[in-house]
């Protein structure tokens, strides 16, 4: 096997070793959070979490559970490093994004620890690529303190119901206003753009609505430029859970089924844009 051509120095010098038969199970999910080039990777025995942030108001996390990998070894309690996500994605897709059916790129990923590069061995059809990506000083990531006990409203939708709405968001509007309510209009998306306002209502008994748990009427605005990148995750996902807490913070959880039928999650947290007063409603 080509992947075993690497020097037999043993894996024990690595704090992280992960192997994957189909690299797209990793690259596709990382693409869903690629709206900034810097990402923080956080690995434990449970798997890898990759975090990307923007403007201290938005955070996206991709979770790749250990079970997705064919081999997954973490030697320390947790391993953290920062990496350029654009470079990582170019390396992961070095053999192209649409490989022929029946062929896939295998990956072995190793990290020796603080100060060392992340090493990738990729193999497809007997051709081997070795990448060494320099890692950077990890930075503290934001803690949104989004706690399920503080969740006020929660909706689970089939993603197709939201896909068109997000793809066609009126980008001349500065904000996306989300209304969730136990009464009419139940779930409403509104934009206020140059050409006027648009409101999109989802009835509570719609086929697309998998769960509807709204306890009180909440209307919050979020910067549309911050939410737009989440479309990448939405496109890949089959279901989305939309939650808001008592502070108006928004959590979007996307359930993504990979090519092998396994489930991964991508989650976006966003701060509300401003408080809106009753008179504006």
């Amino acid at each position: 096997m080509p992947l075993s051509t690497q020097p037999e120095t043993g894996d024990d010098q690595y704090v992280l070793v992960a192997s994957l038969d189909n690299v797209r199970n990793l690259s596709n999910i990382l693409k869903a959070i690629h709206f900034k080039d810097h990402a923080t990777c956080f690995a434990t025995t449970n798997g890898i979490k990759v975090t990307v942030e923007n403007a201290k108001c938005l955070q996206a996390n991709a979770f790749i559970q250990a079970g997705i990998f064919q081999e997954f070894i973490v030697q320390e309690e947790s391993v953290t490093f920062r990496i350029n996500l654009a470079v990582l994605l170019d390396c992961l897709t070095i053999f192209g994004t649409n490989s022929l059916p029946g062929t896939s790129t295998a990956l072995r990923m190793c990290y020796r620890g603080y100060g060392y590069p992340l090493t990738l061995f990729l193999e497809e059809g007997g051709v081997v690529t070795v990448c060494k990506i320099n890692t950077e000083e990890p930075e503290e990531t934001l803690d949104f303190d989004f706690c399920s006990t503080n969740v006020v409203n929660k909706i689970i939708l089939q993603s197709e119901g939201l896909r068109e709405a997000f793809a066609e968001l009126d980008m001349t509007s500065e904000v996306l206003q989300i209304t969730m309510s136990p009464d009419k209009p139940y779930f409403r998306l509104s934009t206020f753009g140059n050409a006027g306002s648009a409101h999109l209502d989802y009835p509570k008994d719609s086929d697309l609505m998998e769960a509807f748990h709204c306890n009180q009427t909440q209307t919050n605005r979020y910067k549309i430029s911050l939410l737009k990148p989440s479309t990448k995750a939405l496109v890949l996902s089959c279901k989305v859970s939309i939650r808001t807490d008592n502070r108006g913070f928004l959590s979007l959880q996307y359930m993504i089924r990979n090519e092998d039928g396994q489930i991964c999650f991508v989650e976006y947290y966003c701060c509300p844009d401003e408080d809106i007063t009753e008179s504006e409603l």
Binding site: G126, T129, N134
Partner: protein, 284 residues
């Protein structure tokens, strides 16, 4: 000086179109040399095109049903024209399902290559689209500038891997770096490497095979004495390499490259009666 040629076969037309599209991707302007048997598309290594040069050769008999040419003089029975291959490529776009395509040298205000496309028509009258592509006639005293480049005295000659794979690797590498190191040995191994402050990437190909070259006196090339494991390498402009890999539409049956260490990489793509040679100089 006269030239007229005609294509009627759809397969020949498609093939010819693909060759012209490839030339258009590789050169903004080039020289078209016409002889009795062959057409040549030539790009000489001017500084303006980054020192890259090209030599593409096709047998007219493989494409044309009629091919008449009369050069400037009986003893110099050739024509040299300067043209923009993109214009020819655009003219051939309208010829996709043509019944016939006629290409001739005309003089309308200025010298032109005229492409007359006869399109299928339901009525008895035929539909003809005509493109006049202005060209420059290159005088005979300058012909010496367009000699066929000799195969350089290379260190290593090697068959290229599947071009589709090589293209996607070079495409990603282009996102990461401006130059690429191409290295190969006589053991059928080739590596593509980039290195920047952020990342180093190396793709290893093996089992490619080294073409047998026999020099003119019948003896084997001097590369025979070379250590088969030792790599010959050249650092080249990654965009020039990608231009060749992404631009080529000839789907070569044979593709190989010759490396002159630290000097030049010479690519040869062969498809039936078409041969395309492309030279990329090494960066300092």
């Amino acid at each position: 000086m006269r030239f007229r040629a005609k294509i009627v076969d759809v397969a020949c037309l498609n093939h010819f179109t693909r060759v012209i599209n490839t030339i258009a991707k590789l050169a903004k302007t080039c020289t078209l040399r016409l002889t009795v048997d062959k057409l040549y598309f030539i790009l000489t290594d001017k500084v303006a095109n980054g020192g890259v040069s090209m030599w593409c050769e096709l047998n007219q008999g493989n494409f044309f049903d009629e091919f008449q040419m009369e050069g400037v003089a009986a003893e110099h029975n050739e024509i040299y024209l300067e043209l923009t291959p993109e214009n020819l490529s655009r003219a051939l776009k309208t010829a996709q399902n043509a019944k016939t395509v006629k290409i001739k040298l005309t003089n309308k205000h200025c010298p032109c290559v005229t492409v007359a496309v006869e399109l299928p028509s339901l009525s008895s009258s035929s539909r003809i689209v005509t493109h006049d592509i202005p060209v420059g006639v290159i005088p005979r005293r300058l012909w010496n500038d367009f000699r066929e480049p000799s195969v350089p005295d290379f260190d290593v000659s090697i068959y290229l891997p599947v071009l589709k794979t090589m293209k996607s690797v070079v495409e990603r590498m282009k996102n990461l770096s401006n130059c690429i190191v191409l290295e190969a040995n006589l053991n059928g191994e080739m590596n593509l490497k980039i290195e920047t402050d952020l990342v180093s990437v190396t793709t290893h190909f093996k089992g490619l095979g080294n073409p047998p070259w026999v020099s003119e006196d019948g003896s084997q090339n001097s590369t025979q004495d070379r250590d088969p494991e030792s790599m010959a390498e050249a650092r080249i402009d990654i965009r020039k390499l990608l231009q060749l890999l992404a631009g080529q539409q000839v789907n070569p049956t044979k593709a190989l490259c010759n490396i002159v260490s630290k000097r030049i990489v010479h690519f040869i793509l062969l498809h039936e009666e078409v041969s395309l040679q492309y030279f990329i100089p090494a960066l300092a």
